[in-house]
Symmetry: C2
Subunit: 584 residues, 2 copies
């Protein structure tokens, strides 16, 4: 080793020892013939002292060291006169007697401190420098701890870590597949897995009983800020289980991870039906750190001659506590908020429910205080609340109120980073209608089973009413995982494919292997998957910022800025694969 110790371990106990350290020049300053260098490695920072008064050559060479130079220095550990209590090694320094420059460094294009001056593009291009920064470094080291805790738990519960293939068959569902041309079989293609879904089910048919894998998945989607074309999944499946067994098992896993990594003890996870989540929170991943529930007040507002509300499909509201004194400019800001194109509401009506019980609104022309009292009652508002009312088509109204609720929660400081509120959302619908395409899609995926008591809705054609045996784990409004009890017999699986509008030929071509497998003793089974990037981000930082938890993320255009990829390739390579570029 080019060192006897790391830069993070020497303390007063080592005083007097001759040591050798290697690392990066973090900071470098001169004072009266002395050069002080903060030498940094993954484990910490140690102060080196080069004394030009004692060794002129050494001192001069040290004075020339630039930021991020890599050096190996030997010397004696001594007690420091001015100690630094912030770091473990702050009580000592090394009086260097000899050193060697292992590698020089150009000046980094941005500072490598906790808060860097580097913009996103630059940081992505020089990712190897960005990764030296303390917060990003710790994110990745902590991500490892999350994965390790997951493995510990699943290993202890008898789950077998079994690897599934990456070069599989293209069976696009929802998202697009990335495909891989085959050279040996020209004109044919592999696909990269969107998830190991069918393989884990096959492993249940094979009798492995409990499976897990921490595995890369691929989706060729149009990218959004929080999406990556490749992402990592904690993928799990169990045989001979019912929904309750899975919820218990993975609630245990999450508790174990939070205890191991953050020393946080979590209580039992509450549960909420999809229907209630949509009704009271406006989406299927409620942030339950605060209340401010959505209320439907449609029937309370109609019939007073105000056309906007009289004609509205839905009228809903939230009651914001202690905000009845909001100024005109504050309420105007909220109106602009819901009118943003991402939300698309037409506007916002507000009712100020004064602490004295008075009721004033932006629609006083149409509604008396007595009318407004009915609104307030329907909204379960209290004196001092600001009631924010949105009207219009149900979906837009719901979205607007959902976003407004989250925005007000943030503004009022109700979304604390020190609070974790996990929640199981259950009873998802099985199917959702794509009216444009004139068909039904699987909400979760086509392998999800349905509740037996809803079976009759297949016959009545009320497909939207069929509830799936599907569940999501939501933490503070972020969906970190989800899964379902699967179909495990050929007949029901065919019924599902048929309901989704797949032809017999299509089914045969894409899914013959799993339908066949179901005919050879497939056990009842189910499972779930956690997004590791998101789960790590939530566990470590209580925020959803996955790029800061991935060593080499891609940008919004799916590009790796460091490697400059994707890129063109040799014509010869394409020829071998039997493909040709034909850009439209």
């Amino acid at each position: 080793m080019l060192r006897t110790h790391t830069c993070g371990e020497l303390t007063l106990k080592n005083a007097g020892q001759e040591v050798t350290l290697s690392g990066w020049v973090h900071k470098n300053r001169e004072m009266g013939g002395l050069t002080f260098v903060d030498l940094r490695d993954r484990y910490g920072i140690t102060q080196l002292v080069f004394d030009a008064n004692k060794d002129k050559e050494l001192g001069e060479k040290a004075a020339k060291l630039g930021r991020e130079f890599v050096i190996k220095a030997s010397g004696k550990v001594v007690e420091r006169s001015s100690k630094n209590a912030k770091i473990t090694t702050g009580e000592i320094e090394i009086i260097v007697t000899s050193f060697e420059i292992l590698n020089a460094s150009k000046t980094p294009p941005f500072t490598l401190d906790e808060n860097t001056d580097g913009g996103e593009e630059l940081r992505m291009k020089y990712r190897y420098l960005d990764l030296r920064r303390e917060p990003i470094k710790n994110n990745l080291l902590n991500r490892h701890k999350v994965a390790k805790a997951v493995r510990e738990y699943l290993d202890s519960k008898g789950f077998a870590d079994i690897e599934t293939p990456f070069l599989i068959k293209s069976t696009p569902e929802g998202a697009r597949d990335f495909i891989v041309p085959s050279r040996v079989n020209q004109g044919e293609f592999y696909a990269l897995p969107q998830s190991p879904q069918t393989f884990k089910q096959i492993l249940m048919v094979a009798g492995f009983d409990r499976y897990y894998q921490i595995v890369r998945c691929f989706r060729d989607e149009d990218l959004r800020a929080d999406r990556q074309p490749e992402f990592t999944q904690i993928d799990c499946e169990m045989a001979f289980v019912e929904q309750e067994d899975i919820l218990q098992m993975f609630e245990g896993m999450v508790k174990h991870v939070f205890k191991s990594v953050r020393n946080i003890e979590m209580g039992n996870f509450p549960r909420m039906t999809y229907a209630d989540a949509m009704k009271y929170y406006g989406n299927d991943k409620p942030d339950t750190r605060f209340g401010m529930l959505i209320h439907d007040i449609t029937s309370a507002v109609k019939g007073k001659g105000f056309k906007v509300l009289d004609d509205a499909e839905t009228v809903g509201c939230i009651s914001v506590p202690n905000a009845s004194e909001y100024s005109r400019s504050q309420t105007d800001e909220l109106i602009e908020f819901v009118k943003r194109p991402q939300i698309g509401a037409k506007g916002l009506i507000y009712v100020k429910y004064g602490a004295d019980g008075s009721l004033k609104s932006s629609v006083d022309k149409f509604y008396t205080p007595e009318d407004l009292k009915k609104w307030a009652d329907a909204a379960e508002a209290k004196p001092g609340d600001l009631i924010l009312v949105v009207s219009g088509p149900a979906a837009i109204t719901r979205r607007a109120l959902c976003e407004l609720r989250l925005e007000m929660g943030t503004r009022l400081g109700l979304r604390s980073k020190s609070v974790y509120n996990p929640l199981w959302v259950i009873d998802f619908p099985l199917l959702e209608e794509d009216k444009e395409a004139g068909r039904w899609n699987a909400c979760h995926h086509p392998f999800t089973s349905w509740k037996k008591e809803d079976e009759h809705f297949f016959e009545t054609g009320e497909l939207g009413k069929i509830r799936a045996n599907a569940y999501d784990l939501v933490i503070n409004g972020v969906e970190v995982g989800g899964g379902s009890i699967r179909i495990h017999d050929r007949k029901n699986q065919e019924k599902m494919f048929n309901t989704l509008g797949l032809s017999k030929e299509e089914v045969e071509l894409k899914f013959a292997f799993i339908l066949n497998a179901f005919e050879y003793g497939a056990p009842p089974h189910g499972g779930l998957a956690f997004g590791l990037d998101r789960f790590a981000s939530m566990t470590i930082a209580n925020e959803e910022n996955i790029r800061e938890f991935i060593a080499f993320p891609k940008n919004n255009a799916g590009r790796d800025m460091m490697m400059d990829s994707p890129s063109t390739i040799d014509a010869a390579q394409l020829k071998e694969l039997g493909i040709k570029i034909e850009v439209k």
Copy 2:
């Protein structure tokens, strides 16, 4: 859960308990109104008894159960009259009072016993059935144990498990890349990694100090029996190290794995130079479980008028102990062995060194016993040995003697499955000449550093003499891992690319990111990678049969027989990607 216990846990201690088991009907036999079912799950087999005398309906339903039906059965644990000492549950049976068929099964197309009657093709197509077989199931469960032991060790040594991307840039080296067309950037392509080589080096530049990953790698090679287009690597890298540190660290890892998984204590690993391995064993991965070293006897055989040997570039031999009594047909068989096209030798000369000291050969016409004594001395042969002599071009002679040695080792039972002989092979050459293409290739890869003392051979043009800081770990003749100390400065890396004949433009296009990274404080670093498929196969079974240790392997044509992949894809999918099929 659809069970109270697994099929592997009930013993006499549970006698009298009411239990519910779920699993597969492994065997089913009737005897005087009693139906006995061996119920199987991942954990074991438990005998169920259905008594038609007590419950006719139950008995009749049980009698109809077919092989591999999935059932859930409840009843009482009782002591068995005829016990089965071979299985944990062999002292009890369950008197079933009720059961349910969870899923039926067609009759499997092959038997699911330890030794199946199913051919390779059929087993691959119905992989979910093949995986139910005890040996394959155990292979995969033990593979998990190997990976787990690897993680335990590396975690304990401070290695950080950091994930690297799968959608990277095409930089083909040696093997071909699999490529992935980009839809968002039409005409451009990602490549799947042949290994995370450059990323792990970047992580060292980023200061992570110790990295590992158990990660899938991809090579689009023409397939051989023991190759898969995708395979798993235990990928490791360390900063501030020299070769010795790496050998020590990973010797420790292998010892830990063997101790954990097999309870085998390994002594310290011997080391051998590449030059000695080639000289004495004829290849760079010697099986050192037995001696029978190769000797060069070129100078001892020349000048006696036998043209074959007089003209030969090289004459080499091995001395096979206690084989001087081999019959004519046995020696003829060995002659055919070396003449096989895979080996390509012209023939074989033998000398029988009798236990009485007599010397007889297949070339007695040209050589007196005194001449042959010189051969025997040069070969370090002992009375009783059969000396097998091969002559011809050096490379073919070496290969023939290498294969002959292994064959004789097998025939004489010297390659015991209960013996593990690990070996570090060191001092590999840096470069090898491709005479046809008129260029030099990297033996390991272009990021490997060379020994400083051999630097001058760059100037003299004796490139073949430059030794690399590269090493392989060989166990019983199987290469399970290998690595090197890397180049860590831009100048030497450019020198290497230049030596390999890459143009400046090519280097800039493919490797700019790593050359740039080397300019910002790259530490000295090195590492290695183990092939997990091979390492698991060796650890568990002491044989190289990777397909039996992969859940879903591909066949020799790179096809997944179960999924039937690769396959054709929709024209619309290709159009979106901006590519067109043009099969030649």
